[in-house]
Symmetry: D2
Subunit: 329 residues, 4 copies
């Protein structure tokens, strides 16, 4: 039984806390959040205690921490947790500044602790099944990857201002999918982008629609298209073309009802946003984290994966801002 502290009692903190509570080998001991009410409510729900950051790191009984607080706190918490010898699960990104993220990776390595990054998409049943079938050789050698990643709607402008930009905030997941699926590293990155959804996003110095192309060291090609707004909901698909065929990962829908009326044959919209779409993925991700602690599984999304995705996000940002193709490494 491993005692656990969760930093952050917001949307994603609640999800992870619930999954920790359901985990046989773990016990949710502390919830930490500057918003005392939120911390108290979440702690109460699972019979945990409210604590401060200091209390968590001073408690030698705490074996693991889940960092679900705001992005600007990630690095400090990782560094403190590594220093305290706690096992770490941290939401993406490690930090908006690549140098600081690297410092975290070094601290984690020195401390010899786990630092899993929350790339939950790798744990989505559909995405994971596709990956397993690809690895089993079902379509031969993968050659091209097309990723579609669209949100149902744009976040508030203040969120966008502190997000690090669309490439670090939204595409970082897609860059991780790229590395995970093609098992190759980028040689060149080209990013084009526009502000088509809301001019206030442009005013905030960001874009809301992007088209990225990556060519890998082995010549494989990847195209990513993203948008902050899809009227039909959260759109999370990708397809891999291989020498022997294609594997496509589609959206999920709440039900399998088909309606045929005088107008059309229609099906459900995809699950509306990430909390619905990745519910199973979040559960499996946390289960994986504890399976790693128990020595039953080998860590699958490391802080190095977090760094590599961040580097791609930086390259894409540069490509877009400077209007040029960026060469990696």
């Amino acid at each position: 039984m491993i005692d656990v502290a969760v930093f952050g009692a917001g949307r994603i903190g609640k999800i992870h806390a619930g999954n920790v509570a359901r985990e046989a080998g773990a016990r949710l001991k502390y919830v930490v959040d500057p918003d005392a009410g939120a911390a108290k409510a979440l702690a109460a729900l699972h019979g945990a205690q409210v604590a401060t950051v200091a209390q968590v790191f001073e408690d030698r009984g705490v074996g693991a921490v889940l960092i679900c607080s705001s992005t600007d706190t990630h690095a400090d918490l990782i560094l403190a947790a590594a220093a305290a010898g706690k096992q770490i699960f941290c939401e993406k990104p490690v930090d908006l500044a690549i140098g600081r993220a690297r410092a975290c990776a070094e601290a984690v390595a020195r401390a010899g602790v786990t630092c899993m990054i929350g790339f939950q998409r790798r744990f989505d049943p559909t995405f994971a099944a596709l990956k397993a079938r690809l690895a089993a050789g079902e379509i031969g050698t993968p050659e091209m990857l097309v990723v579609t990643s669209r949100d149902p709607g744009a976040p508030p402008i203040p969120y966008i201002r502190s997000s690090g930009g669309i490439f670090k905030d939204m595409l970082i997941h897609d860059f991780d999918i790229f590395r995970w699926i093609l098992e190759d590293e980028a040689e060149t990155v080209h990013a084009s982008a526009s502000c088509l959804v809301d001019p206030a996003i442009a005013d905030a110095g960001d874009a809301d629609s992007t088209a990225v192309t990556i060519r890998t060291k082995r010549g494989r090609l990847c195209q990513i298209n993203t948008c902050r707004r899809a009227a039909y909901g959260y759109d999370q698909r990708f397809e891999v073309l291989g020498s022997g065929g294609m594997l496509q990962a589609g959206n999920h829908a709440p039900t399998e009802v088909v309606a045929s009326t005088a107008k059309a044959v229609s099906r459900d919209l995809p699950e509306h946003f990430f909390l619905e779409r990745y519910r199973a993925a979040y559960a499996r991700e946390v289960a994986h984290f504890f399976a790693v602690q128990a020595g039953r599984e080998k860590l699958r999304t490391t802080i190095d994966d977090g760094l590599k995705a961040l580097e791609l996000a930086e390259a894409a940002t540069t490509s877009w801002r400077e209007g040029r193709i960026v060469r990696i490494g």
Copy 2:
């Protein structure tokens, strides 16, 4: 907080016990099973105690019982539970003998307790969504219902021998779907059947493939086709034709992967059997039972629904055995 006893620690007992354990307003207190090892294991998993039938009914603290034991024990347990004033959830069928099932219904009515029957399909997200859309008038007045209900494989012959026959064992769920969807009662029932899967089933006096037609009092038509074996897995679909269109409820699949190779474009098989397909339905069904106890919801699958489905199963059995159309009521 309501204390609960579960009778039966088999496949379905485990499912329900797990769902009780996850229920905020309920506590799993007892597990009862003639197989001491099974009872002990299940009780241990959820921090409950092993008990005898007598202990459960003598404990005034027990508010509800879930009857998941073998069919031949259902009636005795319902009668005892009603006498003890316990709230009852019972797996289908109430009893293979219609007279005894009626006696149970009377006892339940006299005792004034809830007796929910485990027609979990009504709680399947797809089926429930279809029903809600039908009720909202999306396709006008329902006129025809076609139900497809196929198991991945036949159960062992000893099971078949004590099952009451395919109409009571397997189609009872489909008869409930019929009543629930068309909201009408049968006027005539015609059942044709064959033994095409395994001659040992015919030797046991049963059929493995059936084709049933029901005409309702309002002239609506329902066709049900069932088989004990579908090579591709559990097949649970139905479609309703209404004056303004059609609603179809399809199977679920584990993932949304589509593979295109030189041979075909292929998708996952449907979820393999009832434990997978109706996982969400079982959870929602138990949640509904406790919501009824808490006064938040009105009971949706009563012992009368169980009786009506049983009457249809009897009528279908008679139609098949005697080669005639059976008139109801």
Copy 3:
């Protein structure tokens, strides 16, 4: 080069005449229709002449006739054509009276001419592909067949009055599908039916919604559900369950556009009615007729197939009217 006369310049006569015109080995010589204007227009379209029935049969140069006129003329024309030694293609049904249809079959046999019946569904690309894959053993032995057959809307009441009833007019095609797919003959037929679409249809002595069950001599089961009205268009599907899996034949749609909006993910309605849905089937059917004449193919839908389907339609009508299961042969 074979000279051809077409009887009937209505909807289906136009289709067949057009297909004859496109046939390399055939020449459309005559069009016959009591409606002189219709005959003239169709003849002009394809460079043919208007003729009377007598002229056609007196012209020794005419090798084949296509009977697309009203049902009550079929038998006379078949008898005359057989007597004149013409090769015959005739729309279903041969005749509403089974005795008269048998007389036609005998005349055809005596004359030694071809008499192909227009069961065009066997030539539908989807249906024909399913049949070929079934014959190739893809799903083992066929055991159950479920046929869905719905029109977009009911025909005018006068048409219904002279149609011979829904079983002879509409289900005759489905009965042929049953025989063609299961390759077995009926042992019992049960038909239930209702008038749910339009009470005027009941006043005309007919039903508009039916549910038929056939059990074959080998114990195979077939269910057919039909309706005169489907708000979403012409619905023509069937599925075969075999010992090794299932084959389903679905509807066609005009395009492969999928629209995702804030409301739903939607696709095209199926092709609206038989002229659209079976366009390819009609072309292949006529090509088959001439390929038979040229000795390249063996006749696939004989007058005996027409008789067998008619017998099933009669049995179903009796089952419905008399409320009993009808035993065949």
Copy 4:
């Protein structure tokens, strides 16, 4: 009635000649091909005559020519046809050299004749329906376009050597789709490409897999991914994201059969290659050409469309070869 000459009796010449033969207002008079046997066979099939280029242009009775010969002959034939005042239909591309293509456009303009370019995809029923629904505002303003365009297999190396490269040979159609769907002109073009299918293609100086991004003057984004080999056949899809939703155009399949076996639920592969997939499009395209001549429709794919697509193909080739983003106009 307009007399027509077809240049080229190869694959595409045969298709167009057949469609001319079926056209009510046109008569196929001449077939021209350096391969005398091919010319003779095609002419015989439709009752036309074999002729030389000179004979066609000297015959004042010839109203229109269809240029289906090899790419290197297109420009000369367009210039000669324009000089002779013939109406012109020409397969893509106008010419591999943009300067020469421009000269053709000027000659056509001076002569005042029609010069339709064979961008048949605009006439595909699915693509055309999507375009019409987009124009009707079904998904608001279009913002992103993703085009997938893959051949079942690579052409022979000699063909590739004289093809002008993959961007002019294969993507020229996709560039036309881009312009047609987004109704906007390119501002920047970025093309990445690899040789992953066959190293002989690299030896021939070409690529076989490409990833192109276009940003339009209004900031709309388009991504095109192509490959010379898809194991599952011809893959021709695109999707448009608009402010109010998404429209997707999918592949067609020969039949609507779905097979469910112990392994998977599978459907047909898409139609194998362009002759099958675009059969309907070729017919509609030629019908449109003659409808334009008859004054019933306005020309939809002009020589200017051909030039614009060629310019994009040149820009993409440059982008790929020089490893830079190319700015248009």
